[in-house]
């Protein structure tokens, strides 16, 4: 131990350095954990708690689990009925499927539109890439709400799109787009497209173009080059983009509320109705909890398979 001449003093110094190192490490990993606990775990526990209580006409509009009964006894009442209600009432189930459908289809639309855009930006001359990316991000500088209102102005029966098409003579009657699910798809795809493009751009720009030359050299035509080289290597970006679109769209409220009609039933909108119109906090909380579980399960599965694939890769080494 004392072989290096420093002796006990050096050892103590090393220990102190180690301690500082671990403190630093705790700080670095601790801050995001703290963030997660305060802004995710705790609120979720509150929601979970509310979802298991009984609704009441009170302030707040639910009953505590722990109650003193008239004869001085303390009783704990946990109510699972809200979840039962969600299951029994077809409204909630169809809202869940409605959300899943809108999220799935708009994720697909974002992918179909975003992939070529991300590819084009990644292959653009270096000096053009940053300006093009800026154009993708630029809409974020305007309020989300205002942008959706703008779409109302475009899609209205009396809106820009209809007027333009009428002026062109393509249509005789204004199209009924506003307050249909088509309007929701348009709005959602528009709003979430950048979230698809950015991670896709990140993976596609890292792709070495010489790999495509190698594939061409070995006899692959351009379509085959894409399918066998570009696409498989961009899958991580596709997954990241798809999650960034799918997850928030599942809980989306503003777009279906402003652009959608009575047939566009989505969880987010329903939650809003339960919370603020019906003031049924327990049911609304149960909905939120179910939504979280629905979103977290595929995510965990994905992580599981990813880590298994990684483990396989290392095993082979």
């Amino acid at each position: 131990m004392t072989g290096y001449g420093g002796g006990a003093g050096a050892l103590a110094g090393l220990r102190a350095r180690w301690r500082r190192l671990t403190v630093g490490r705790w700080l670095v990993t601790g801050i995001p954990w703290l963030w997660l606990v305060i802004f995710f775990c705790l609120p979720f526990l509150f929601i979970l708690k509310i979802s298991l209580s009984e609704p009441a006409l009170a302030q707040p509009p639910y009953l505590n689990w722990i109650r003193e009964t008239a004869d001085g006894l303390v009783s704990i009442v946990v109510n699972f009925g809200n979840y039962g209600l969600l299951w029994d009432d077809s409204l909630y189930v169809s809202a869940l499927f409605g959300s899943l459908q809108v999220a799935a289809i708009s994720t697909l639309l974002c992918l179909l539109i975003g992939y070529p855009m991300a590819y084009a930006i990644a292959r653009a001359p270096t000096h053009l890439r940053m300006p093009l990316l800026m154009l993708v991000i630029l809409p974020f500088w305007t309020s989300f709400l205002i942008r959706i209102y703008a779409w109302m102005g475009i899609l209205n029966t009396n809106g820009i799109l209809n007027n333009f098409l009428l002026w062109l003579g393509v249509i005789e009657q204004p199209l009924e787009i506003m307050h249909t699910s088509l309007a929701v798809y348009i709005g959602v795809t528009y709003a979430y497209l950048p979230f698809m493009i950015l991670p896709l751009y990140a993976t596609l720009s890292r792709l070495d173009p010489v790999l495509l030359e190698a594939a061409a050299d070995l006899g692959a035509r351009p379509a085959k080059q894409f399918l066998t080289i570009t696409w498989p290597q961009s899958v991580p970006g596709v997954i990241a983009g798809a999650m960034l679109v799918f997850i928030p769209v599942m809980g989306e409220f503003v777009i279906p509320d402003l652009l959608g009609g009575p047939d566009s039933l989505m969880l987010g909108k329903l939650m809003w109705t339960e919370f603020f119109n019906n003031r049924d906090w327990p049911v609304a909380s149960a909905l939120a909890a179910v939504l979280l579980v629905v979103l977290i399960i595929p995510f965990l599965l994905l992580r599981h398979y990813e880590s298994r694939a990684e483990a396989n890769g290392e095993e082979a080494a």
Binding site: L211, E213, A214, A216, D217, L218, K224, A316, A317
Partner: protein, 370 residues
Amino acid sequence: MNNVVANAEQEPLVRIRNLSKVFGSTYAVDNISLDIEEKGFFSLLGSSGCGKTTLLRMLAGFETPTEGRIFIDGKDVTDLPPYERQVNMMFQSYALFPHMTVADNIAYGLKQERMARPGRDERVREMLSLVQIEKLGHRKPHQLSGGQRQRVALARALAKLPKILLLDEPLGALDRKLREQTQFELVNLQERLGITFIVVTHDQEEAMTMSSRIALMREGRIEQVDSPQRMYEFPQSRYAANFIGNVNLFDGVVTSQSGDQVLVDSEEAGGQLCVRHSQPMTVGMPITVAVRPEKIRMVQAGDDLPNQMQGVIREIAYLGDESIYHVELASGKRVKYTQPNVQALAELPLTWGQTIALGWHADRCGLLAQ
């Protein structure tokens, strides 16, 4: 009419005619015409920016020539895309597909030509054993060392048994020991498979070791095409003489020619130089005498060397197997002279400041136009 004549004396495998490639306003390749014979090891040698890689990429089909035609096996391939050419390339960066195993990388080209599964697997096994990495088939490229990756790249490019294999700096990323070993393996492979190898390299030693023919390139043009031996012994320009190996150049003027002896008066050499040269020369013509350092020797008593001069040793570079001496002549010109270190400690070691007499035979040097 010309075609008949050309066919009679066996068509070369690759025929390049007046090929140019312009990037912006610079000629990367400037009006090159070149024939490459079948079953050889052909090197495109030159310093960076000489156009050798552009020429190779035009052969592969990655660059479209601005002018000129390329014929492979008598067929005009100038406008064919890379995936329709019977030419495969080994890339400088290897360009292995990172998401595929070694075996899938090698099978990629075979899948493109829809080779059936059993034959494909068999070919992959053959290729793996050909480059001696039988056990690595299931690995991913990132799990390989640089040398192993190089072998995979080679196996993948060879898998389709192309007519021509193009290699872009194939040994550039390997360390020195591995490079020397791989040089011989490449040559053996070429001889065994009978595939024509066209190699781009900037390393003259590499080109000398491996090639059956070398095309020395400079600024988009071809300086000289020759066998390694002729390239070294009979360089046709100062550039070629300097690029390959070491050389001493003495500028002078032709003073007379009798038979195959040319006399050159060179101020730098401090007198007359005698060169064996059979082509007729004009008296008074400025000329350069080129002599390789190892062709020079120390003058001993009774030597009858036509070219002799005295100088002072200024620098000594001890390389182990040999030493290079920089000898300064009276004219101030420095002559490089190498001597093998036959004895561990020379009996009469040459030292700095010592005056020595050097000389060489008339047939050990050459003439270069100025």
